[in-house]
C-alpha cells in the first residue's frame, strides 16, 4: 500500500471538501436571505 498516496489524498480531499462545503453553504444561505428579504419587503 502506498501510504504517501493515501496520506496526500486524505489531506486534499478534507481541505478542498471543506472549502467547497463552505462555499456551497455561503451561496445557499445568501440566496435564502435574499429571498426572505424580498418576501418581507413585499409584505
Amino acid at each position: 500500500m502506498d501510504y504517501l498516496f493515501w496520506g496526500y489524498n486524505v489531506i486534499w480531499v478534507l481541505l478542498f471538501g471543506y472549502v467547497i462545503y463552505l462555499d456551497f453553504r455561503q451561496r445557499t444561505i445568501q440566496a435564502q436571505l435574499k429571498q426572505l428579504e424580498m418576501v418581507l419587503g413585499e409584505k
Binding site: Y3, L4, W6, G7, Y8, V10, I11, L14, L15, Y18, V19, L22, D23, R25, Q26, I29, Q30, Q32, L33, L36, E37, L40, K43
Partner: protein, 228 residues
C-alpha cells in the same frame, strides 16, 4: 476600492501563491529523507495542521473570554467559526498521523500520550460545536459554550507537552536547544506553516460570513413572526 475587500483579496491571493510554493517545495525541492523515504513528506502537512489547530483553539479561548466579558455577538461568531476550522485541522492531524505511523511504527494507532490527548482535544471541540449549534439564539447556551471553549483549551498545552512530559514514541520536532532538521527541510516546513496559517484565516473569514448571514436570517424570521 474599500480597504477590507482589498485586504481580503490580498489574503486570498497570497494564500494561493503560498500554497503553490509549498507544493513545489514539498514535492520537487526538498530531498527525500533517507530512513523513512517519501512517506516522511506527510510531516510537511501533519505539523502545520497541528499548528493551525492549536492556533484555532487559542482564538476560541481568547474570543470566548472576550464574549463573556463584553457579550458582543462578534466574539461568539469568531469563537464558533474558529472552533469549526480547528476541528477540521485536528481531524487532518488524526488521519495523517496514523498513515505516517503505519509506515514508521508498523501500527495505525497506539494509546500513546500525544495521540490520546490529541484525540481528546478533537472530542472536546466537537462537543463545543454540538453545544453551540444547539444554542439556536439562546444567549445562555452561547455563554455555556464559551465557558466550555475556555476550559477545553487546557488540553492544548497538554497535547504540546505530552511528548516531553511522558514516555512516548511520538517524535519531538522542536526542542528548546535543537530544531533537529536540516535547512532545506526547515525552510519547507516554515513555508508550509505560513501557508496553513494563511489558509486558516481564509477559512475563518468564510465561516464567519456564513454565521453572520445565518444569524441575520434567524433575526429576520423572528422579527417577521413577531410582526404577524
Amino acid at each position: 476600492m474599500k480597504l477590507i475587500p482589498l485586504l481580503k483579496k490580498i489574503l486570498f491571493g497570497s494564500t494561493f501563491v503560498s500554497m503553490l510554493t509549498a507544493l513545489y517545495l514539498v514535492f520537487e525541492w526538498v530531498p527525500i529523507e533517507r530512513q523513512m523515504g517519501p512517506v516522511q513528506k506527510i510531516f510537511y502537512f501533519h505539523v502545520p495542521s497541528a499548528w493551525v489547530a492549536f492556533l484555532a483553539f487559542f482564538v476560541v479561548f481568547v474570543a470566548s473570554i472576550m464574549y463573556l466579558k463584553t457579550k458582543a455577538e462578534v466574539y461568539d461568531i469568531i469563537a464558533g467559526s474558529s472552533a469549526q476550522v480547528g476541528v477540521v485541522f485536528t481531524a487532518i492531524v488524526l488521519i495523517t498521523g496514523p498513515i505516517w505511523g503505519r509506515a514508521a511504527w508498523g501500527t495505525w494507532w497506539t494509546w500513546d500520550p500525544r495521540l490520546t490527548t490529541t484525540l481528546i482535544l478533537w472530542f472536546i471541540y466537537l462537543a463545543y460545536l454540538i453545544i453551540r449549534n444547539s444554542a439556536k439564539g439562546n444567549e445562555k447556551n452561547y455563554r455555556l459554550a464559551a465557558v466550555f471553549g475556555i476550559i477545553g483549551f487546557i488540553d492544548v498545552p497538554i497535547v504540546f507537552m505530552a511528548a516531553r512530559w511522558w514516555r512516548t514514541i511520538h517524535p519531538v520536532v522542536f526542542e528548546a536547544d535543537n530544531i533537529g532538521l536540516p535547512p532545506s527541510m526547515l525552510i519547507t516546513l516554515m513555508v508550509c506553516l505560513l501557508t496553513f496559517t494563511l489558509l486558516y484565516f481564509v477559512l475563518l473569514l468564510k465561516s464567519m460570513k456564513i454565521e453572520q448571514v445565518e444569524r441575520k436570517i434567524q433575526n429576520l424570521k423572528s422579527e417577521a413572526l413577531k410582526a404577524y
